[in-house]
Symmetry: C2
Subunit: 235 residues, 2 copies
Amino acid sequence: MAARVSCNDCSLSQICLPLAVEPAQLDELDRIIRRGRALKRGEHLYRAADSFEAVYAVRSGALKTYAMSEDGEEQVTGFYLPGEIVGMDGISTAYHISSAKALETSTVCEIPFTHLETLSSRIPSLQHHFFSLMSREIQEDRALHMLLSKKSADDRIASLLTTIAARQQRRGLSNRIFRLPMSRYDIANYLGLAVETVSRIFTRFQQQGLIRVEGREVEILDRPRLCGEGRLHAG
Amino acid sequence: MAARVSCNDCSLSQICLPLAVEPAQLDELDRIIRRGRALKRGEHLYRAADSFEAVYAVRSGALKTYAMSEDGEEQVTGFYLPGEIVGMDGISTAYHISSAKALETSTVCEIPFTHLETLSSRIPSLQHHFFSLMSREIQEDRALHMLLSKKSADDRIASLLTTIAARQQRRGLSNRIFRLPMSRYDIANYLGLAVETVSRIFTRFQQQGLIRVEGREVEILDRPRLCGEGRLHAG
DNA sequence: CGGACGATTGATTATAGTCAAGTACTGTGG
DNA sequence: CCACAGTACTTGACTATAATCAATCGTCCG
């Protein structure tokens, strides 16, 4: 069964944790990982307030993380695609502050955090890689901060599309045609927009020839104009 | 000179890095720290694209971090008060992606990162604390994400004020009366608002008896209503 | 003292949200 | 296989919130 594959044989090893570990030490990492946990669409990987035990590498499918405000409204805080690490919130509190839910049928590799810490002490490159992963997460949050605080709804959607495209490419897939794993509602929530706005912008981007979109299938037709200036002030 | 004080004698040791280190090992941490770097108002601690060499503990004063978008507009990404660690972006890229600038006369302790990594391998609690610090930064970014994506201008300002108040308290200062180290422009920029909006809300909050404000001096008069529901729909 | 910057206030406008309605999908059970 | 329910998505009309434009005042420095 594919889920039992070792890191050695995993197609994602070049973008996942193993990239930080010498082949000679990969066995050590391999041994602490619990592989192939399967999640059905809508199932939770963990919930807010669950005790923090592990971080998870997405092997297939996609997840979203979200938090609840006091008044019960959901805030989607991130989307996680294969090769990406989810669950790094919670280290400081020892319990998760957000929930992680499968957007579609998914499998994850579970990496118990105390083991990972122990191993990181012994493998400097792993420690560095983990610092690095968290640092990148902070960087991405800063980019999102700018997106939400300075950019128009159009820019936000364009940025989401190109970001997803880039992450697809990282896994060796097309950066032009892909399927969004999340609903319009999740997109709207994540980007701080109303669903209706998201829908309208998808439609307009298509009319402007920037993308072709059919449900969750997206094709990027004019990347320069989508990313850049072209779209600003009447595209 | 106060700046030459060791971590042992530093009044901030209970909220800064030393809290993670046994007294017996504090010397080791102490030795790698370059203390008392002074910054005048407006001076940079580092700039975007500078090579990443160290993280910094704020000893006195206050700093802001900011990034520039391609089109040259500034995005304030954070404010850093005494006892807080600045500069953890940049680990993954080996160069800083944002700039850090003193909002007022400040001093910082410089902690060379490669030394910190080495030491972290030997002191598990320090490694854990550092993971923890980064995790908390991620948590705070998530809270900010919700603030920017779901909350009104009023909520954003209220949240900033109470957050600053809490951080003051952490250092043993009043959580009721304090001086904002940053300009209205920085506040507006950070919260994704126009300066005019910030100004108007400060004025209105004062008229509503929630705060007393005079320039950068702020007194919180009615915390419950400021934080909570009271303000919603006509306070 | 003057200039620049920071802050405030007012008038107007633009962007995205809300409300409302309706269509298209998806999966389920008959 | 189809009917149905429920959800996801789209579109239109109207509205509210905060942005922009503009003017003024205060104050900190050089």
